[in-house]
């Protein structure tokens, strides 16, 4: 498509002004569509096959989690928010629990911090693997090479889920973090499993890179969906999206939590801000996460894994008034939790809990980026943003 792409398109474009006699095609993309990664709708105004204006509609997966959290007690919130980012649930649990710990001033034992870091990094690998698979599928289709990469990525991700199954008993919605620490300690022999699995995956990642180092892949991704650094910052894009635009920012290094202040986290950045840059950043992050997890898993110090008395009664945790914002770096970026403590239900549940979803910020980039691209590119761009609708809509 040769239409000139400005740095950022005008999302409030008046179509009558664009072309009063316009013969535009309105393409309703989603909510049920193979590559909207869940239920998400974009109304595209097409001039030929070139997008002139894109109007996204979110909210098809809105489940009222924030309202629900106002009624539930602190202990019960963890398994509920698990379902938000269903590709990286470890981070959801950790985010809310870190916020509650900040509210109550609970110390997290060092062993629990190690476990949290390790499971987080392993989860990051799993999440990026899933992204790689689905992104390849967006480019390659359900019948084609994309599916092959997709299946291979899922094959490797399955091994990570096995690791979590051994640790927590669940493959997906773990409920393993709790106020003040973790609920499950590392079982015997888990470290060996982690080494074996991650070593295996590290090799396979090389294979994916080899298969995707192909002119077709490059043609489909390079120069497609360029997000400038300024636009990324303005929109509040975080994580790999921001780093692919050349901004050197990673909460693990810049606002460390857990034991990240003792770690030397390599922040992967790339210039270009296009789909190819996002792909490179995520693949490098996968390697870095594998490195961190493998380095940590042998050195988990002994000790307790929970800093408070284990949850016995729902109303056990009482919180004084206060407001905190705690953020951590998930595979999709900054997952923040803003909690206003002390609500009804005798201060045992938050007054207001707001989750800052990185996916929603990522999706808000669409009206700025899509115009000027074709429908094929729209799919690639949407895929490269890695949105998880469960998290975006909550």
């Amino acid at each position: 498509m040769t239409l000139e792409r400005p740095d950022r398109a005008d999302p409030y474009l008046d179509l009558d002004e664009y072309e009063p006699e316009a013969d535009l095609m309105v393409l309703n993309f989603g909510p049920q569509h193979p590559s909207t990664h869940g239920v998400f709708r974009v109304v595209m105004y097409l001039d030929g096959e070139t997008i002139v204006k894109a109007v996204p509609y979110a909210g098809y997966l809105h489940r009222g989690v924030e309202k629900l959290c106002e009624k539930l007690t602190y202990a019960q919130i963890t398994p509920i928010v698990d379902k938000n980012d269903y590709v990286a649930p470890m981070f959801n649990e950790q985010a809310v629990n870190m916020a509650f710990e900040a509210l109550t001033g609970t110390e997290v034992p060092i062993r629990a911090q190690y476990i949290r870091t390790i499971v987080g990094e392993i989860q990051r690998v799993a999440s990026h693997l899933l992204w790689l698979g689905t992104f390849a599928m967006d480019l390659g289709g359900a019948i084609g090479g994309g599916t092959s990469v997709f299946m291979w990525c899922f094959r490797e991700r399955e091994m990570i889920l096995d690791l979590f199954e051994h640790l927590t008993g669940c493959r997906f919605h773990y409920n393993t973090h709790t106020l003040g620490g973790n609920r499950h300690d590392i079982p015997a022999g888990w470290a060996e499993k982690v080494h074996a699995t991650l070593g295996h995956i590290a090799q396979r990642v090389d294979e994916y890179e080899a298969i995707l180092d192909h002119p077709i892949f490059k043609a489909r991704t390079e120069g497609v969906g360029v997000i400038s650094a300024q636009l990324a910052l303005d929109l509040g894009l975080t994580g790999p999206l921001l780093r692919a635009s050349g901004v050197d920012h990673d909460l693990r290094r810049d606002a460390p939590y857990n034991i990240y202040d003792q770690l030397d986290v390599q922040v992967m950045t790339d210039t270009g801000g296009d789909c190819a840059a996002r792909y490179r950043v995520r693949v490098r992050e996968m390697r870095e996460s594998i490195r961190i997890a493998r380095a940590l898993v042998d050195n988990v110090p002994p000790g307790p894994i929970c800093g408070t008395k284990p949850i016995k009664l729902p109303v056990q945790t009482r919180v004084k008034d206060g407001q905190v914002y705690v953020a951590l770096e998930t595979p999709r970026g900054e997952l923040g939790t803003y909690v206003i403590g002390g609500g009804d239900n005798r201060n045992a549940s938050p007054y207001r809990l707001k989750i800052r979803p990185p996916s929603l910020h990522a999706l808000s980039a669409l009206p700025y980026v899509l115009p000027g691209h074709g429908v094929s590119d729209a799919v690639a761009i949407l895929g490269s943003l890695d949105p998880i609708m469960g998290e975006a809509d909550r």
Binding site: R8, L235, D254, A255, Y325, Y338, I340, R356, H361
Partner: protein, 165 residues
């Protein structure tokens, strides 16, 4: 600059230009500012202090507290917390709250941060607080024809649309 230094610089800025009392200790709830400072503070932070990343906006609804004995009553109002962040090492989140009356509106940050568009729409949708000069203040999560704002405290979970149990 480290995070702690940025924090104290932020407090200094609030004291110097945005009407924070000189001796005010940082309260656990975060700084409460007057609404007229809101946009100017965001602009200053973005253009002069490196708070270039838009983080989030959190609105909350506070129902009327009737006066009871010595405790003073408080009319129904909204509170909006805004969060901005610096990027790079020593990242710091600037966070302040603004109180909005029920019929009031807060200046929108969309002219400064494009990302404020959707976030303010979401808060308008779920909590009901209005943002002045927002280019496109529609509902984001709920259907267009939805009545009421779900995250308000008078919108109870048990009433209205009963979910399947």
């Amino acid at each position: 600059m480290t995070t702690a230094e940025r924090e104290s610089a932020f407090v200094e800025l609030l004291r110097a230009r945005f009407g924070l009392a000189e001796d005010a200790e940082p309260p656990p709830e975060g700084f409460l500012l007057a609404a007229e400072h809101h946009f100017e503070l965001a602009r200053t932070l973005k253009q002069q202090h490196g708070y270039v990343q838009y983080v989030s906006v959190v609105a909350s609804h506070w129902p009327e507290v009737p006066a009871k004995g010595k405790v003073e009553g408080d009319p129904e109002h909204y509170e909006v917390a805004t969060l901005l962040r610096t990027v790079g090492p020593g990242s710091h989140v600037a966070r302040w709250r603004v109180r909005i009356e029920m019929d009031g509106a807060l200046d929108s940050l969309v002219p400064l941060f494009a990302g404020a568009d959707w976030q303010e729409r979401e808060q308008f949708d779920l909590v009901g607080v209005r943002f002045a000069d927002h280019p496109d203040l529609r509902r984001l999560m709920m259907p267009e024809e939805w009545v009421g704002h779900p995250l308000r405290k008078d919108y109870a979970i048990e009433t209205g649309h009963l979910p399947w149990r």
